[in-house]
């Protein structure tokens, strides 16, 4: 059953919001930042990235702030900050549940 759109974030969406938290970046910079941050575990291809960016922009999570030549940069919005924070909370709960389940298992 697919996840309802923006109810929770997909992994690439989550990392795109993470990359844009401190400063605005263009597409190539977003990919580079994520790759560096995750030691190459998460790699976003342009097809994936430029599918996600308009969706996030439509949702109001990011906004396109400049188009120097053909280079477009993106900035996180307040709504995007909230979405990112909510996703972090959700993931923390997931981890807490997993750890608690592991502890229970060790008692079995």
């Amino acid at each position: 059953m697919p996840r309802k759109a923006f109810d929770t974030l997909s992994e690439p969406m989550f990392y795109v919001l993470m990359a844009l938290r401190c400063r605005s970046l263009c597409g190539a910079e977003i990919v580079e930042w994520i790759q560096k941050k995750t030691d190459g575990h998460i790699v976003l291809g342009p097809g994936t990235l430029y599918t996600i960016l308009p969706k996030l922009a439509d949702e109001g999570a990011i906004r396109e702030i400049s188009a120097e030549g053909r280079r477009r940069s993106y900035q996180l919005t307040d709504k995007g900050q909230q979405m990112f924070a909510a996703e972090c909370d959700r993931l923390r709960r997931c981890i807490a549940d997993a750890e608690s389940a592991s502890e229970e298992e060790s008692l079995c």
């Binding site: 976003l44 342009p46 097809g47 994936t48 430029y50 599918t51 996600i52 053909r70």
Partner: protein
């Protein structure tokens, strides 16, 4: 070099693998013409062709997207469809175009839902509509046997059914593939195999060839039915003047002597026909082209190539026209009726006769308007037959 695309446009994983394979054979994609990929030859090389799905992307965004992708080492090649572009990368270190299965499916699935809806409509509704439209033709104006003997309906029915199959089979495959593609892990690119591509190309080719053959056959048949030629009243034989001496058709136009009549011979796939049509008119006011129809005479002499069909056709004609069996020397079956219809104005007096012997079927109709006929069609045709027993057949 042109090659038929073996896959549907949304089978992006298979198309990508197939294009990569072509590059390894030294064929590099140049453009797309309809469903044909155009390749240029070169040194075999390991390159990657990838398809970018775009939903609701306008031209400006499209151009910006192409420029953005170039930064990642992907060059635009051509448009696969209005929702998909093909890119190529010669750089083995360039990051893959699509890296997230879920994101890819998000876009593809919304496109596939449309494809599936189109597939359902195409596989079920379109053939039903075709068959529904075909039904009156099959039934024919004067019945099924009339449409078989005097029309192309049996051939058109066969052709239409074949045409429907050439439509339905790819549509059903399209629908099945759309459903399967939704379920598949596209980034694995495991769907394409050489034998699968060849089978699908063979199917597409045979469907196209069948459709083409059908269209050519219909054209040839239609041309054949249009090959009728005019004949003279003498060649025709039992014109109204011959049957009822002294009875002349009116001039077609009041100021000319051109009689209002038509005699032709024609061939249909299942019969050979000569027929005559004559009309009587009373000129009320020649200057004002004011005419009144006084009588109509139709005679068809058909040689049907299949005897049982001739028998069925004649019986059907008699039934449709409401004729009663009568005795007619030398003919296996004869039906005749004399009627007066005064339900509408003018009153119509009709005499209709159908004869059948072996493969020959004769049909005569004589209508007069307002005035009762002075002539007896049955006796006149009997007299004509006795005088001209080998006129047709």
């Amino acid at each position: 070099m042109l090659k038929l695309n073996p896959y549907y446009t949304y089978q992006i994983d298979a198309i990508e693998s197939w294009l990569d394979e072509q590059a390894q054979k030294g064929l590099f994609l140049d453009d797309l013409v309809g469903n044909l990929f155009s390749f240029v030859k070169g040194e075999p090389k390991q390159v990657r062709y990838r398809i970018d799905l775009k939903d609701g992307v306008n031209y400006t965004e499209d151009q910006a997207r192409i420029a953005d992708y170039r930064e990642f080492g992907w060059e635009y090649v051509c448009e696969l469809s209005s929702h998909a572009d093909i890119y190529v990368s010669h750089d083995p270190t360039a990051v893959e175009l699509n890296t997230d299965e879920e994101t890819l499916h998000d876009v593809l699935d919304s496109l596939l839902k449309r494809e599936i809806a189109v597939g359902i409509v195409g596989t079920v509704l379109v053939p039903l509509l075709w068959l529904y439209n075909l039904w009156p033709d099959t039934k024919g104006y004067y019945g099924v046997y009339d449409s078989i003997v005097n029309g192309l309906s049996p051939f058109l029915t066969i052709f239409t059914v074949l045409l429907i199959l050439t439509w339905t089979i790819p549509m059903a495959l399209h629908l099945w593939d759309a459903v399967q593609t939704r379920r598949r892990m596209l980034l694995d690119r495991t769907y394409h195999t050489d034998s699968r591509a060849k089978k699908r190309q063979a199917l597409h080719r045979s469907v196209l060839a069948t459709a083409l053959l059908i269209l050519v056959s219909v054209g040839v048949l239609w041309g054949y039915t249009q090959s009728g030629t005019d004949i003279t009243a003498e060649e025709f034989g039992p014109s109204i003047t011959v049957l009822f001496p002294g009875h002349q058709p009116a001039s077609f136009r009041p100021h000319t002597n051109i009689p209002d009549e038509m005699f032709r011979k024609s061939s249909m796939p299942l019969n050979r026909t000569i027929y005559g049509r004559q009309w009587g008119r009373e000129i009320l006011n020649a200057d004002a082209f004011d005419l009144r129809q006084t009588w109509t005479y139709n005679a068809d002499m058909e040689h049907v190539y299949i005897q049982w069909l001739a028998e069925k056709y004649a019986a059907e004609q008699a039934e449709v026209k409401g004729l009663e069996p009568v005795a007619f020397p030398d003919w296996e079956n004869a039906w005749f009726a004399v009627r007066t219809d005064d339900s509408e104005s003018p009153t119509v007096f009709s005499q209709q006769l159908v004869l059948q012997n072996g493969k020959d079927v004769w049909s005569f109709s004589y209508w007069t308007y307002d005035e009762a006929p002075q002539y007896d069609l049955l006796s006149a045709v009997k007299a004509y037959w006795q005088a001209n027993p080998t006129h047709i057949g």
